[in-house]
Symmetry: C2
Subunit: 251 residues, 2 copies
């Protein structure tokens, strides 16, 4: 891979440019991209022009830049995330029809919880997660499921800290977190009141693929006052359905 | 952008590698990728290694390669496609609850119909479209909506042909296609029996953003024998809802 004088590859610079886009910054000038990616102006212009040329970025009428549909297409059409999400969606809809709150699907990505799907009821309560958004593993109910069933080495690294408090109720004590994770593996469900937002309780269950490996966490976010039993039951039933769907040859 | 001896940029080679993945090839060896991308073996290994390094590709236990969750995340979190799709999903669910067949959302991408969302009823009939899949503009009901409301220059280019027949009922006569497109603009709905698959009828309506520009097509795929009136009505109502949702400041 061609290296710049800084030793950084073109691929790394492309990733840095793409990273400057998020839900609050879907359109930017090349100068803004360069500043946020900490790239020299000439480099930013060259990388952006190359990405526009290939359709991975698009320019609008005012020459501002946004992520291209081509990037979206390349990222999705051959992706495991899409397969998982397509298998899960019908079951997530059933959960949502019963629970009428936020229903979410999350995976483990580079040591964090990455949300790959979210259905929201129009009258559902507070919830800070977004599709393609992240949270630390120890904070949310989904993350606790993924951490409990994730690689031993990752679990020990997270337990070694630091354990950031996302809310005053986030579990930040390593010994307590270790007991919580053992409980998750034993009970097959996490109930996490207030660990992300004080007003909400997360309820999450593991989603297993054919051979039993946990590949995702399925969760709902309820107001703190709502009983969690019916949601846990709906999630368990949905997770079983998703596992069966993933076991079939085609999603 | 660093150029290879062939004059191709690193960005172009990255796109060629990503293009080798699709719904039927989610996992490949580097040798397979190189062959499909028509890249020399050493180049393929270098490009793949760079993409794995940045998380855009991932290796499994057998050293085979698949699209990385990081690519999925970068492509989605700042994307217009996600915003459109999140605005549309609740309304698509209502359509599907009423029509109980395939409900789809498509956009115009580089002169083709790109499907960005699809909901399928368990007992729905035949439908060849896939999320992140494409069809020629003149073939499907969604494409006819996008073509009718797309740039004049694109419409003339498509009308100049060649007009490929996806099924025996695809409109391939330029004069007839021109009349069909005028009808789409006049009626605000397309009913396309058998133009993609002989057994199915596509029904599609335009989705407009705040200022009235058509940004997507919303469609259902029905068995040929099903009356199209109720579906057209459900689609019109949903398209109005999506337009209102897109007009709001945040999806």
């Amino acid at each position: 891979m061609a290296n710049s004088r800084s030793g950084e590859t073109v691929t790394e610079r492309i990733v840095r440019v793409l990273e400057t886009f998020d839900a609050d910054r879907t359109v930017q000038t090349t100068a803004e991209i360069g500043r946020r990616a900490r790239l020299p102006s000439s480099t930013a212009h060259r990388v952006v022009a190359g990405l526009v040329e290939c359709g991975l970025l698009e320019r609008d009428e005012e020459q501002r830049v946004r992520l291209g549909m081509r990037l979206w297409e390349l990222a999705l059409r051959g992706s495991h995330a899409l397969r998982l999400r397509q298998a899960a969606l019908p079951f997530m809809e059933r959960v949502q029809a019963r629970v009428r709150e936020h229903t979410q699907l999350a995976v483990l990505e580079n040591g964090e919880t990455l949300f790959v799907e979210r259905l929201s009821h129009p009258h559902a309560g507070a919830n800070i997660t977004r599709i393609a958004g992240r949270l630390p593993l120890h904070a949310s109910s989904s993350g606790l499921v993924l951490l409990a069933h994730g690689p031993e080495e990752l679990r020990e690294r997270v337990l070694a800290g630091p354990l950031e408090a996302v809310s005053p109720k986030t579990v930040t004590d390593p010994a307590l977190l270790r007991r919580v994770l053992a409980g998750v593996r034993r009970d097959g469900v996490v109930v996490a009141p207030g660990t992300v937002e004080a007003v909400s309780t997360g309820v999450a269950v593991p989603v297993r693929e054919g051979r039993g490996r946990v590949v995702a966490a399925l969760s709902v976010v309820l107001p703190r006052s709502t009983p969690t039993g019916p949601a846990a039951e709906a999630l368990r039933s949905a997770a079983a359905g998703i596992s069966a769907a993933l076991g079939a040859r085609r999603p």
